[in-house]
């Protein structure tokens, strides 16, 4: 049992007050000056973002999940800029278990909000990469436009993303993905896709 408690797919032991404090520091750090990275690192980050976009657009959700560290966060604030997740609801605040729940929900044959399924295509631009204050971490800002098309329905979602990447051997994994919809505090018809 004790060893099992360390399995973030089954138990959420890491989303504690310290985690929220670290998240507040993450948000603050996005606005602080930071050292740029070399071209090769920047290219590697851009390649990761493009690969992530393609996995999502092709519906390869399980492969997409492989891009994340075990104790990850997929976060869509409702308050523009991030707000205060300890006292505000969000559009998504998924630790690993809830992210796996979300994928299970999307994989269900009975998810009426996704029947017929969305076809999505996203454009990622304005990629900026800097060194994070924590060693072995990078902060990546990018802009996105996601087109979500279903028969008789076309929604366009503009916004920006902050990725916190963590070095894993020779490559980078996503520790935090913060998706900021431009109209995050407004009403939407259907937010069932992953952004």
């Amino acid at each position: 049992m004790a060893a099992e408690l360390n399995d973030p797919s089954r138990y959420s032991t890491y989303v504690d007050p310290e985690f929220y404090a670290a998240l507040a520091r993450h948000t603050a750090e996005l606005d602080e000056p930071a050292a740029p990275v070399d071209a090769a690192t920047r290219d590697a980050c851009a390649a990761l973002l493009y690969r992530e976009a393609r996995l999502l657009d092709e519906g390869r959700l399980e492969d997409w999940l492989e891009l994340f560290v075990p104790e990850c966060l997929y976060w869509m604030p409702m308050t523009p800029g991030g707000g205060e997740p300890t006292t505000e609801v969000t559009l998504a605040f998924d630790d690993r278990r809830r992210l796996e729940d979300r994928i299970a929900w999307l994989r269900s044959a009975y998810i009426w909000s996704q029947i017929p399924r969305s076809r999505t295509r996203r454009s990622i631009t304005n990629i900026e990469v800097v060194q994070a204050q924590a060693p072995g971490e990078l902060l990546v800002r990018s802009n996105f436009v996601v087109h979500d098309v279903r028969p008789g329905y076309h929604a366009t979602f503009p916004g920006w993303t902050a990725h916190r990447l963590r070095a894993e051997g020779d490559s980078w994994l996503i520790a935090i993905k913060q998706v900021n919809l431009l109209d995050s505090d407004q009403a939407h018809q259907n937010l069932s896709i992953i952004f």
């Binding site: 989303v15 006292t87 796996e100 729940d101 009975y110 909000s113």
Partner: protein, 441 residues
């Protein structure tokens, strides 16, 4: 669409609302929608917001009252006003942001200024108006306001019933929900999930006390909830829901209720069946270590919804820990607001956990509901198939019981509450209460 003859005799609604079914037109007819915005959303007590959202003097927020743009203000003395957001001069809105703090609203168009109680305080270059021009006659229109335990209701009815009388049998249930919060104090300052529903508002209202749909509409959510091999919240809707102690009830005055509480028999049951939330185990361990078993169990149960679905006609739906409200926009469009709540007396990490539990259903439940509401609206466009059934449980001897207070109790999947509220709606549509804004000359 409706003829003068039908109007004059009031028999249109006798034709559209029968004992066990309603005509599709009540969901699709533009003229009926227009009439509803006066006869229902003008003449009833409508929920417009929570007093905790207006913290401190001169706070304001904007909203709608049956489509009308409104400003809800708290003046310097603490009184709450619901003002029609429309300059008396040329009709421009005088407030264009969602919330803030202001003693005064100045119309951007010609500079007329109003105090936050609605009174006209200034007109630029007044010498251009004749001597008989009386600013006192040109305050912003006002709705009548009733604040019941921080729930703000507004109406344009000239002599509305007391809010307690309107709430009627729903009142003790609303009290129960509020009193679950420590100190009986609810705070609604944590944001709101907003959804843009492509259906008539009554389809949402119908569904709010429909115990028949969860097993089917929420099949993906129920599947997801079984993923880790445990039985979680709402599973009982899929396992002979009519055979247990759960029930639905029509409360009168248009109000309805589904009581899921009988599925939760002992302290800790709420917490035990809550679907997994981020931080659940981390925070549970801390709370148990800090408060001891019994108190920790009590506190953890409070992070979970009340298991009451209370629908207060025409637009307030208490669900889980959230305050849901409906804002009709068009005959086929409704904005849903799910206001999240906190308690100032709960430990901070439990309020945080409550944020995460209040993200669960809006994320994995309501999207599938909205899909079905929108598809109902599409299906109801077909003129040749006229009727929408509300006959589940109807005409079965001994299946429902009359309550001492005049309500009707029935098995969970019955459409008894739906039949009750739609007949209340019909009576309102057949009435001819004039609606007026106070203060408008």
């Amino acid at each position: 669409m409706s003829t003068t003859r039908e109007r004059a005799t009031g028999d249109l609604y006798d034709q559209l609302v029968l004992e066990d079914r309603v005509h599709r037109r009540i969901y699709t007819d533009q003229d009926i929608f227009t009439e509803e915005m006066t006869k229902v959303f003008g003449a009833c007590w409508v929920y417009v917001g929570h007093a905790s959202e207006l913290s401190g003097a001169n706070a304001f927020m904007t909203g709608t009252l049956g489509g009308r743009p409104i400003i809800i203000t708290r003046d310097a003395g603490g009184d709450i006003h619901v003002l029609l957001n429309r300059c008396l001069h040329r009709g421009a809105t005088v407030c264009r942001v969602e919330r803030g703090r202001a003693k005064r609203f100045v119309c951007p168009y010609h500079g007329w200024s109003y105090a936050n109680d609605g009174s006209l305080t200034g007109v630029p270059w007044p010498s251009g108006y004749a001597p008989e021009f009386d600013p006192a006659k040109y305050s912003l229109g006002r709705a009548r306001v009733a604040v019941y335990r921080d729930f703000i209701f507004a109406t344009l009815h000239p002599s509305p019933p007391a809010i307690e009388d309107h709430l009627g049998a729903a009142r003790p249930l609303l009290d129960y929900w509020i009193d679950r919060f420590p100190g009986g104090k609810v705070t609604a300052r944590s944001g709101a999930h907003r959804m843009d529903c492509q259906s008539n508002w009554k389809l949402v209202m119908d569904n709010s006390t429909d115990g028949y749909h969860p097993a089917f509409s929420h099949r993906a959510l129920l599947q997801m909830a079984q993923r880790l091999g445990e039985t979680k919240d709402m599973a009982y809707f899929a396992e002979s829901p009519d055979d247990g102690d759960m029930y639905c009830r029509y409360l009168g005055n248009g109000h309805s209720f589904i009581d899921q509480r009988p599925n939760y028999r002992k302290p800790g049951d709420y917490w035990a069946t809550q679907r997994p939330t981020p931080g659940r185990e981390a925070i549970e361990a801390r709370i148990r270590a800090q408060y001891g078993e019994e108190e920790a169990t009590r506190l953890l149960d409070l992070t979970v919804g009340s298991q009451m679905n209370l629908s207060i006609f025409p637009n307030l739906l208490i669900i889980g820990n959230q305050i849901q409200s409906l804002r009709p926009v068009a005959v086929d469009r409704t904005i849903l607001l799910w206001q999240a709540t906190t308690s100032e007396e709960l430990p901070e990490e439990l309020n945080t956990l409550r944020m995460r539990t209040q993200e669960d259903f809006p994320s994995f439940g309501e999207p599938d509901d909205l899909a079905n509401f929108g598809e109902c609206q599409r299906g109801l466009s077909i003129p040749e198939v006229e009727w929408v059934l509300m006959n589940r449980g109807y005409g079965i001897e001994g299946r429902q019981s009359l309550d001492p207070d005049g309500g009707v109790t029935a098995p969970t999947t019955d459409e008894t509450p739906m039949r009750g509220y739609i007949h209340h709606w019909k009576a309102l549509m057949q009435s001819d209460t004039p609606v007026v804004a106070e203060g408008v000359a």
